[in-house]
Symmetry: C3
Amino acid sequence: MKSLLKPSLNSLLIFVPVAVVLRVWPQFGNKTALFICSCLAVVPLAGWMGRATEGLAEHLGHGVGGLLNATFGNAAELIIALMALSKGLTGVVKASITGSIIGNVLLVMGVSILAGGMKFRVQRFNRTAARTSTTTLTLAAVALAIPTVFHVTAVGWSQATEHKLSLAIAVVLFITYACLLGFELVTHKQLYVGEPMDGREEGKEARRWSVSKSLFLLIVATSLVALMSEFLVGAVEAARATLGLTEVFVGVIVIAVIGNAAEHSTAVMMAMKNKMGLSLGIAVGSSLQIALFVAPVLIFFSCLVGQPMDLEFTLPEVVAVIVAVYLLFQINGDGETNWLEGAQLLSLYLILGILFFYLPERAHES
Amino acid sequence: MKSLLKPSLNSLLIFVPVAVVLRVWPQFGNKTALFICSCLAVVPLAGWMGRATEGLAEHLGHGVGGLLNATFGNAAELIIALMALSKGLTGVVKASITGSIIGNVLLVMGVSILAGGMKFRVQRFNRTAARTSTTTLTLAAVALAIPTVFHVTAVGWSQATEHKLSLAIAVVLFITYACLLGFELVTHKQLYVGEPMDGREEGKEARRWSVSKSLFLLIVATSLVALMSEFLVGAVEAARATLGLTEVFVGVIVIAVIGNAAEHSTAVMMAMKNKMGLSLGIAVGSSLQIALFVAPVLIFFSCLVGQPMDLEFTLPEVVAVIVAVYLLFQINGDGETNWLEGAQLLSLYLILGILFFYLPERAHES
Amino acid sequence: MKSLLKPSLNSLLIFVPVAVVLRVWPQFGNKTALFICSCLAVVPLAGWMGRATEGLAEHLGHGVGGLLNATFGNAAELIIALMALSKGLTGVVKASITGSIIGNVLLVMGVSILAGGMKFRVQRFNRTAARTSTTTLTLAAVALAIPTVFHVTAVGWSQATEHKLSLAIAVVLFITYACLLGFELVTHKQLYVGEPMDGREEGKEARRWSVSKSLFLLIVATSLVALMSEFLVGAVEAARATLGLTEVFVGVIVIAVIGNAAEHSTAVMMAMKNKMGLSLGIAVGSSLQIALFVAPVLIFFSCLVGQPMDLEFTLPEVVAVIVAVYLLFQINGDGETNWLEGAQLLSLYLILGILFFYLPERAHES
């Protein structure tokens, strides 16, 4: 299925050597060029990582395979974030968390529903599965808003209290993710079997990767993503200054779009094949993974390395996540979609993009 | 159908000459009397404009006619707002935007559902059509909240940035409206055909106006509305001072109720005939028109005349619009209503009215 | 039905004499011990009050009995609150209002859905009845947020205006409660008849109390609750200082859990018998009673005794109530529940508990 898009995405692999050249011989281009090239190079590599993970998951069976997919599905984003975190760029890291959620819910879902709705008058899917993931996403959105509520309300709070609060919430989110996996992979797996089966069948038609090939490509792709992330993070500050973009805009829009490009193409293609449930599962599942797995892991990691990060987001980020998830609920809560609903999600993405574009730097420090 | 109410509304036409007299010979009454008379005079004129527009629309067929209805349905409000805008009363204009949305969603819908629910135990309607318009309204409510989020967050923002942000959002809203019209009038018009057909049939029973009569009455009514608006806007400041009302209260409650009186009576009557879908369509449709067409047009106009208005509302207005639209979604999302749901909408209208009544003047300038 | 749990709850009655001893001879224990003992003693007494009220209600028939249940169902909480109010502890009283709503919606509902979902794959219930109560609760949550919106926005407001605003909102909430009772007990009682009938039948199997026994036990239990409340309220300040808990935490978590322990056990047992509709009715009904009956009565009482209380809550309380009610709507809006949804409600309760635990004292006074 993804093979249709592979040519175009794979052609972006050319940017891997280009980025290496720009890094080793800085005289060939400035940091902005390096930033753009490493961004573009991540796109096909993230797709490879996803495909290799899926390949391994298939050989491991539904249970363990599902867990593998659920854990490493957003590995590219996790690597970029860990890299940025180790350089102390917490602002960009936090913005990329909210950006990933908004990007998946509004941009990926919006394009999918619009593209699918162009071909099919109404597209239907399992309402209970859709509601379950949307409700979990609502819970995650609320949880991510709590440290900001604390920050706004608490007078005489200390940074230490804020870190403890964020850590405690990260633990609860992590447990919630475990519960969700238990629901999806064990107790109510029937809800999710229907459509993914079809997806897997088509996967068979395409050449399926063997375990050893999957494992080898996973290691290669992961290493290259790590390298590109190092370049990307190293050049981000200079690129931001040159392009006149704020930290929040880079995190929320730029990095989030790059990290999710692979999911994006798959979700759109599923929607155009009238497999809306699968399309929704990919986009919302990716958001959930970011909120309930990647975000807690980043908090745990930041505590381990002694540079604790909190989950206090800027007000516009909190508003953006909450309204995005709410609009998604209104749209998929009835188990059917049409093109207008896709246009509405894109419309909100555009409005939020405008907000983040005009928002001055460090506005939230006041 | 509307003919039942015509006598009572038409009797308000007496206030047209009364207002003219009060304006020309001020010794007969103060500005407060002029304000009240021109307010009352607008009510039947707005009804006439609506009926004449409908008359023209019928002769022009579904497509163009629908467009005409969608564009001129709230012409009376648009005229009052343009008049107020040209006198620099942006506070009143902005408050009348939020007030129109709240008034239609809570007051008009509330009275309709309550009145209909008194006669019928449960009233049902097309859930998809209701969800589509409510979701669009949610998107509009969120969009209108964005400049306020910007205002609260952005430190070191300039008025110019705020105007650019509002203008960009107005453009997106305008495009969203075009999408909605495409959905309603072209791609999914079947969803909306059912009930309006009945409404049109009944329209046949009542004397239908000819094209020339419709056009003539449209011109006369529009001219008189413009005249009355000029009086109304000229007297509003003096009347507010005398009656001890704040700018926001006048905009949100007084002007919004006057501008929507005609829709109000039609929506209630449809509900009492168990045509809940049509009733909902009128009230929610009017809100949508205000948010997605009138508000952008006012922003564009304000830029043209060099007195740019922004979409930054006071916090209570933003809260009011969002909770009103959210309650509406909870109530009509399942495709049926009962009297208690009408009472709940009115209850919220009352609570918000109390809030705006007690709110001190210019509270949002701090 | 409740008889299963009676032994364990009734054994807590031992704390009634213990509390009396601690109060009369303070040398046997400090105020913290007195606080804890009187807290524990209230639990079985509240259960007795509820059972005696139900006993009386059954003899009085559906209409008057329903009204009695609706009015005295939360009498224990009302007594504690009145006692605290008369000592000027408005902070604790207000926090116990929000805490009761959150506790019922998240803790009681969460444990019920989780426990029921462990035994049954999916549990179904009447969607219209569930939506009606959830929508009313949404309205109540919004109404309780309005004075806070006023407080944040209004510059130059006076305490007197705030009290008038709260009083006006309390009146609207009281009328809304009357409407809801009219809906549940008169116009749409069929919606609610199904399941409670079963409940009543089982009530027959257990020994039903006679009118005189019910009345006698109601008087005894009420007197003892009043006494324990007096102890509890008298010791709360000292206990808080010793345990290092804030006023808001004690109100929102501690007192709310104690006052609702009886409802809690009944709701969980109903859920485990697959009577999810009844379980939901108890928990949401209790929240509604607090918001629409207890809160207004407390406001009226506070005005009568000349110590007017307002409904201005802290921002975290407002956020907590709104997100709790919203999550409930997402979960029960489709008329079915599963164990994951229970876990999600508990997850949110945990997150909010963490927030209130870390929140420093008097943070909202700034």
